[in-house]
Amino acid sequence: MIDNITYDRSVQGHRRVERRLAARVRAVAEAYALLAPSLVGFLLFLVAPIFGVAALSLFDWNLMGAPSFVGLDNYRELAADPEVWRAVLNTIYYVVLNIPAQTVLALLLALALNRRIRGGKVLRVVFVLPWMAMPVALGIIWSWVFDPRYGVVNQALGMVGIDGPNWLTDPAWAMPVIASVNVWQYTGYTMLILLAGLQAIPHTLYEAAAIDGTTPMQRFFMITLPLLRPSLFFVLVTNTIGSFQIFDTVFVMTQGGPGGATDVLNFHIYQQGFQLFRSGYASALAMVLFALILLVTAAQFLYFRKRTVYDFS
């Protein structure tokens, strides 16, 4: 009798374990089935190419015939190539022109829109309009706006008696023009992210500070800026990564010219890889761009981690 019961229990227990195990296996199988398409894409079109580019950078290959292993020759060549150094400096120059201007403008707009003003919602939409524009179409439009003879800018300058420069064919002005196109395109987008950050700051902090007799300037530096740090950090990191990859506007507006003044890394890689078909060399250049981006991102992380010292829970 007693034996029978224990027997029954152990069989039932066994079955329960088996059932649970089967359910678990089923759940895991289901999870991987759901994941399968994205996993195929991820491994084949993202992970494999990342390893591929590292490997390719050690070869010399014009896409025909067999690739030949050259070790670090590509890296030696690019380190000695003044055009590469120019492209690196051009890229950094572009980022330096673009990011601070865009971030400061976006912050000012966000602060303005964070007050209770009429038409704030409409303005938000209007400011984001440039963000969705096709960079190629923009390149066409802005080339026209900055056309020395027929462009709006020089026509307007002419009305006040200023003889405008040749903008895109002037080595000194070409890069600032390209940077300003991107500032125009992304300021509204950055503003929206910062505005969301501003709106997450509790109002009570400002009220308490006002009671303590602080000036608006003090409140900005002691409350707004520190608490906005996470949002600022996010836009700085993501926008910087994006800026290092500038291509479309350069491709349409200047093709790297005049005289290499706007030959940025991404454009240089494209030319080496897909116009001159030097895929090994282009891969090595791509690794350099990647390293540059990692370096700058790491620096931003360190800087912000050191300085983000607030806690209000």
């Binding site: 999870a31 894409g41 993202l46 938000r124 209007v126 969705m132 992210i193």
Partner: protein, 269 residues
């Protein structure tokens, strides 16, 4: 006084934001000679459709737009379906290797696109997909880490009780996903679809590399070639640019609520 200054500054910003669009549209309706002789802010008079007719008939504008529509449409469909599936697995199920994989996905968001470009081109060449729609579409159609992340975060805000209730009623995983989660996730899926469509429609670099024939030439390639040929025939290239931007403006106006909200959300994680 301060208030007036504030409004003036915001108004100026708004004017700068829309001015290039308005001037382009305005000039595209002008007669060719007038595009060069009158300032861009002077309203088009007489209004003419001649420029549009000329780009439309001399160049395969209709083809460019159609190819872009197929490209962006297919990528968007794939992105929404496959990102949702992966997001459900990552956000709602537990399985061995989940966290490692998810971090792997996130880590690749840092990798610049140009890094993968040469090998990606070689893979497509190996598969014989150069100059085909499949070659254009495949790299982004299986769902991007960004899309998966966006939907996963949203799924995690939906109470688990709803799902458990359906499970007790005997619903399987697919039923739960389609009947319970999807109806609640319409806003985020609309956002993802809109952003994917806009981004793909605007893409230049990948089509530039993987296609070169007329049969799959997308609008970004079409109009940049047009600019290369007729860099100073502004009446033509402005009309072409206006045509390329038109679908974006329509989509933006339809979905602006989703777009504005999703951008605001990106910074608040």
């Amino acid at each position: 006084m301060k208030r007036i200054a504030l409004y003036l500054a915001l108004f100026a910003g708004a004017v700068v934001s829309v001015a290039p669009y308005l001037m382009t549209l305005n000039s595209a309706f002008k007669e060719p000679a007038q595009v060069l002789t009158t300032p861009a802010w002077e309203p088009a008079f007489p209004v003419t459709l001649e420029n549009f007719a000329q780009v439309w008939s001399q160049y395969d504008m209709a083809g460019f737009l159609l190819h872009s529509l197929v490209y962006a449409g297919a990528v968007t469909a794939g992105q929404v379906v496959f990102s949702t599936m992966a997001a459900y697995a990552f956000g709602r199920m537990s399985f061995p290797g989940r966290d490692v994989l998810f971090w792997g996905y996130l880590a690749t968001m840092m990798v610049p696109q140009i890094v993968t470009l040469v090998p990606l081109f070689l893979i497509m060449r190996e598969f014989g997909l150069i100059d085909t729609y499949l070659g254009l579409i495949l790299p982004t159609a299986f769902g991007t880490p960004y899309g998966i992340f966006l939907v996963r975060q949203y799924f995690r805000t939906i109470p688990r009780d709803l799902e458990s209730a359906a499970r007790i009623d005997g619903a399987g995983t697919l039923t739960v996903l389609v009947r319970v989660l999807l109806p609640l996730s319409r806003p985020i899926l609309a956002t993802l679809a809109t952003i994917t469509f806009i981004t793909t429609w605007n893409t230049l670099l990948w089509p530039l590399i993987v296609t070169n024939g007329d049969a799959t030439r997308v609008v970004t390639l079409g109009i940049s070639a047009l600019k290369g040929q007729h860099s100073s025939q502004y009446h033509l290239i402005l009309a072409a640019a206006a045509l390329a931007l038109l679908p974006l403006i329509v989509i933006f106006l339809l979905f602006q609520r989703h777009i504005v909200r999703s951008i605001a959300l990106t910074g608040l994680k």
